[in-house]
Symmetry: C2
Subunit: 427 residues, 2 copies
């Protein structure tokens, strides 16, 4: 075990030469591998192939409430789909609104609605001057994109192993009524795979924001996406809120994008009655209703919520070896070297790696040059700016294991090479 | 042929007694019929039953560009679907953006985008103070709903047999830079079934609005929805705009909601490159992409655009007799009575009836009391307010012919009864 930080200049130079040689060898292979996005592999979408046989022209197209799913009607979704999502989100079916194919779209639309219509009986956000949002970092680039699109200023809040640093969240939310919300991926967070601790969830439920229209955007994207025999458990936020009389704080989101088909799944949101009244009023103008045939296909395919959970075991069987590959190569190549630290998630879609300060963009550039696409350095921070240039998100799901091995070998070489160069610079 | 307007008081009283008796007989039947919404019947959704057999687990899920439609990718839609919609909208495929299941949703989102981001390089609409929209009346209630939702003031523009009164449109648009657009259903308009004349389309293309960010919302919902052997032809607006250098004026919309499945079809929009740049930037934040499996199913089911047109003939075979039923009963019962005028559309989903001023709500209420649901009186006007209380939208598509006959008999009785009462009031 060799800690690079303890090497002298000559030793570092020697390391650099060897690493450069290994890097050049990889580059000569002309690789073309992609670890950039949290995208299921074709073997995963194959798992839902049976969904294509669920409906045919002679099917009974009526959902539980008797409505023909081929026609207009049921703005909030079919009852059985609302019930299934209610179980996933830990709320009652009446609080669930089933949307189209994308929970991201529902989040965008929810923010858009609060901008133009307001929430909690307050003025629309777009009439309240400059407003702000808390962004636990590193986090999900597309969340930050939405807030940036609407001109909402973003404030970084550091993540801990237990979730966002709640001392900072509580202090900021309480001190500034221009702060209108926070983005959360509470289970198997993107990118770290951290699940918020019970205490973190309780402190969210007990939050006392200065703004009456502060909202917690609770994106439970990986609610059922366990990867091993020791899955995390997320405390039910809505239950905790009920104890505190703070049911209006959270807005919950989830989807089947990483359960059935990315882009052809079903998304949902849930919120308190008074929050949902605002969003439902908006939806009444926005659409006549979402795709109920796709909803019907989904519930009939799974049968019930247990069926959906069973289906997730099939995903796990594919993904667990991929995550093990990534983690074992990281262990083998980087453990104890002092140049990187990473998370070991029990679920979700990512591994988060922190390399030496000032090295992340260099690592990503080196990988790219050698034919391995990673998520852009900085992408996990608001405005694409990682103040330490240190965080890299690895997405192990899409490439097959053999490609992952190659990509990870290269990645580790790049991490070490960038570290050695940075250490030499400082000497 | 008896013109009610020429009757004296005693004659009207007698008419009233007879009509009341007929009405009471209908009421005693305990009907439960619905002519309220432009909803295809189950026989029409049956026509697309073959779509359920297009894809199965062994299908090739790659679209033309090689992308696996089960996974993420292709924000603008699959190439073959963009091409099919390009033909429907009369534009190039590069100008088409394929969305989710609802063109209404795309219109809502387009207005929302222009509110918060602006268009044509201008300030966002929501930072320009009170803005206005032109609304040809009678028109589509859900268009008016969107503008009302965003707090945009609506100005009624009368429809003529050739489309909106273009003298008024031109004068208003040129005189007030707070007027930001107009809603149009240019072919088989909702509710009259009027198709804009070539001159109307040319005058739209030559429009010189005071506002640089004035946009024509061109909702071509019934582009291929002909009902008989003498279909209307709509001039290509985008072609005319090109001649005038006004390609940035229109934003075009359409969908397959009334071709395949309402709620499970595919929608699209098209616009000039510079307009689309604004909307595409928004979509990049709003979603990763829409349902490509549904797109793939649609294009493979139809084969090509001609296949889609052939499919429309099957709809026509179902709908033509329904419209004939409605029109022949109107002719039989109301022609020459002086109490109603109506349109005889060659396509679309509606028949528009104008009853005596001040009678529309009464007619709708009478029908409702006797078990026949019609679109609310006033719904075809902004804010639900028909200044003459005269227009009623009939939607003949959903009920079977036998039910339509009953509903129309009742409707005509109600029109006459309300007219007689109104005439008596004035005496």
């Amino acid at each position: 075990m060799l800690d690079y930080l303890s090497l002298d200049k000559a030793q570092l130079r020697q390391k650099q030469r060897l690493l450069q040689k290994s890097y050049d060898d990889f580059k000569a292979k002309g690789l073309k591998l992609d670890m950039s996005r949290g995208k299921p592999g074709a073997d995963q979408t194959d798992l839902s192939g049976g969904m294509f046989d669920i409906l045919n022209k002679d099917s009974d197209f009526r959902c539980k409430s008797g409505v023909d799913c081929r026609n207009y009607g049921l703005l909030e979704g079919i009852p059985e789909m609302r019930e299934m999502f209610a179980q996933m989100l830990g709320v009652s079916a009446e609080n669930v609104f089933v949307g189209g194919n994308s929970s991201l779209n529902m989040m965008f639309d929810a923010i858009s609605c609060m901008m133009s219509q307001g929430i909690g009986g307050c003025e629309p956000w777009n009439r309240q001057g400059a407003i702000k949002f808390l962004c636990p970092v590193p986090g999900y680039d597309r969340h930050f994109g939405i807030t940036e699109f609407f001109g909402i200023e973003m404030i970084n809040v550091p993540m801990t192993d237990l979730g966002p640093d709640m001392n900072i969240v509580e202090e900021l939310a309480a001190s500034d009524d221009k702060i209108k919300g926070i983005w959360c991926v509470p289970k198997y967070s993107n990118p770290q795979g951290i699940t918020y601790s019970d205490e973190t969830v309780r402190r969210f439920a007990a939050l006392k924001p200065a703004a009456k229209d502060f909202r917690i955007m609770w994106d439970n994207a990986y609610a059922v996406h366990d990867l091993n025999d020791t899955p995390d458990h997320l405390l039910n936020l809505m239950d905790e809120c009920r104890k505190n009389g703070s049911e209006d704080l959270p807005i919950l989101f989830c989807s089947t994008s990483k359960i059935t088909f990315p882009g052809s799944g079903v998304a949902a949101m849930a919120a308190s009655e008074s929050n949902m009244a605002v969003f439902k009023r908006k939806y009444q103008y926005q659409t006549i209703g979402y795709d109920k045939l796709n909803q019907l296909k989904h519930v009939r395919y799974f049968g019930d919520y247990q069926g959906l959970l069973d289906h997730m075991q099939l995903h796990r069987a594919i993904l667990e070896p991929k995550f093990q590959t990534v983690l074992s190569i990281l262990d083998e190549e980087l453990l104890g070297r002092g140049v990187a630290a990473w998370t070991k998630p029990n679920g979700g879609y990512f591994v988060s790696v922190n390399v030496l300060s000032g090295c992340a963009s260099k690592v990503v550039a080196l990988c790219k040059e050698a034919g391995v696409a990673l998520t852009n350095a900085g992408a996990t921070y608001p405005y694409g700016k990682d103040p330490n240039d240190s965080n890299i998100r690895l997405a192990p799901t899409y490439p097959p294991v053999c490609e992952l091995e190659t990509a990870m070998q290269l990645f580790c070489i790049c991490v070490k090479l960038a570290a050695v160069e940075k250490l030499l610079e400082k000497m």
